[in-house]
Symmetry: C2
Subunit: 361 residues, 2 copies
């Protein structure tokens, strides 16, 4: 499975750890042995602190909060806030990890996989990182404004309803690259298809096409990163561009960006300034070049990564099949080898955060 | 603050524990000392297992999943599923706790309070219970069906839109009994009003008025309880009747019901059969008799509890001010004395689950 080229990339990623196991950041005067996936998942999880909070949000006044008695149609609600759930292990490493889900999904993306295995949120916590899982504003536990629906019920033009949409199972099948067309699967695909109903249960309506300008996730994401300090933002798909946009708003706030199959990367020319100083890893799975949707996105991200490198920055596009890891889908955080992928990310974090610390003035 | 009558009720609730501290269920051959709130909140949390999953849900086919290019309008989606997030401590007690939120809120209700104190979900986990926090179907991380909105955008009648509603800050202020009318507060109220914006951020639109018949939360709740075994369901407000309805569907599945200010209790006459064998605690806060909305609900629940007692069952209506605890609002899981209230519930659980075990054939 591992091509000669792949061995090189994986070896480079794993150089700072033993056998691609996850090294635990050593406290001064102390050396932790590297740990492997099964050791991390088997031990009890010791949590110093956990909880949830919201970032951002504005108060708006509406005359159509309801269209039935006895609920008052007029009043104030709060929208635009971003729900954040976090867990800090007993001895946390320097870099907190923020996980931002993609289209038509919520923070559930990063939790227990559809077939019941450990999610990336818990795995990273067990590997020593404080983890922060968000629901994008207008999604999941982050409120929407339902006023236009009641306004239409009460007589406003239906054409003024927001274009909220839901991705169907059939369209997600192809977009998530479980197979070339629904319901055919790629022979080597690694998503736990026997549990696919539990993925369909995760999907929720998406309001992103009703926003003008910058997505409402970007600003609270920048605020969260600034509040945490040294944060590494892990994005997925639709949210791929958000950490880059947040870094433009708060150039000092973000210590690293890991983009899992981003829907878009920043432009390569002109290259926005912050991206020369933030370590960036962009990961794509398998069967990308067969996908009319994803092939151009990977190509655009590769051009961006090359431009960053050329400008003296640090950006890597990791194509898993080029590295000898085959069959990964768009939902690689839920694929059968999801924790191996997580381990690759942790190895990249260890190597690149250490390098960034060494290079700091 | 504690009336003579109150001392009696609190003493009865606390009889099985020392000074109302939370006793830890002793493993055979081992005696744990009772623990107090600050001991529980200060120690690191040791988790054996955590994660999330969905219960229930059905596939539906729609022709209006979207009303904009390039999203396919036709296809299948999954709705009706209930999101469940859980945490199991290292040495879990016999009874898992299921937390079900109320109107216009999500599972966030039970997490970190608006002013940043520990939520009931974490406190119960630290006190030794496996905890399960749900998002009601059609709320939070549990999907909605947005098809009618797109159908209206595409030409269907706006009158056919579902009556989704949002509770305004102003109406919630009175309903949650922070004060008699917005923005006046009761002099003795215990909600952390300085952080009220963080409560407003928790509120989301509510679809419940668009359902015919039994609420879609009831069936997955019964399924979850049956799957867990010996579960105690803690409801709030709108969800108050759901555990009772779930118990009617699965009479053996539910070990206890704790209803925090339920919107409704079951009828007293005829009294449904399961409620003679399930220990039931119904809790109301302060200023209920001044509330035209809540006074009749408390009266109805008192009549129900009396009917259960008369039939040989075990149901208690605990009015906190009658027990000498003043100033609690409808959001008592977030009030400044929230963990003291939680401790009362744990004392009730310990006493009544022990009694149920002793009485079992």
């Amino acid at each position: 499975m591992t091509s000669p080229k792949g061995i090189g990339i994986i070896a480079a990623l794993c150089m700072v750890t033993a056998g691609c196991a996850v090294g635990h950041q050593a406290a001064p005067g102390r050396t932790d042995p590297p740990r492997d996936v099964s050791a991390i998942t088997a031990a009890p999880l010791v949590v110093r602190q956990e909880g949830s909070f919201f970032v951002g949000g504005t108060t708006l006044h509406s005359h159509s909060l309801a269209s039935i008695q006895p609920v008052a149609p007029e009043g104030s609600i709060t929208v635009g806030q971003m729900y954040v759930q976090y867990q800090i292990p007993l001895h946390a490493r320097e870099n907190p990890i923020v996980f931002v889900h993609g289209c038509c999904l919520t923070g559930k993306t990063w939790e227990t996989t559809p077939d019941g295995r450990m999610g990336w949120n818990e795995f990273f916590t067990r590997a020593g990182f404080a983890t922060y899982v968000v629901d994008q504003p207008w999604r999941g536990r982050s409120a929407t404004d339902i006023s236009p629906l009641n306004a239409a019920r009460l007589g406003a033009k239906a054409a003024d309803l927001p274009p909220v949409f839901a991705a169907s199972h059939e369209s997600a099948w192809t977009l998530f690259r479980f197979g070339p067309t629904w319901p055919a699967a790629f022979a080597d695909e690694r998503f736990p298809l026997s549990a696919i109903d539990a993925l369909w249960a995760q999907m929720v309506p998406d309001w992103t096409k009703s926003f003008q300008g910058i997505n409402p996730t970007v600003r609270p994401l920048a605020t969260l990163a600034a509040r945490l300090g040294h944060a590494i933002i892990v994005s997925h798909s639709q949210s791929g561009i958000y950490p880059f946009q947040a870094a433009t708003l708060q150039p000092e706030a973000i210590a690293g960006i890991i983009a899992i199959e981003p829907g878009a990367c920043p432009p390569a020319d002109p290259l926005p300034a912050p991206f020369r100083s933030i370590p960036i890893l962009i990961v794509f799975g398998d069967h990308v070049i067969e996908s009319p949707h994803w092939a151009p996105k990977q190509a655009q991200c590769r051009t961006f990564a090359q431009a960053v490198q050329k400008s003296g920055g640090n950006a890597t596009l990791l194509s898993l099949p080029d590295a000898g890891i085959h069959g990964n889908t768009h939902m690689m955080m839920q694929d059968l080898n999801s924790l191996e992928i997580a381990n690759l990310l942790i190895a990249w974090i260890e190597k690149n955060m250490a390098a960034a610390r060494a290079a700091a003035p």
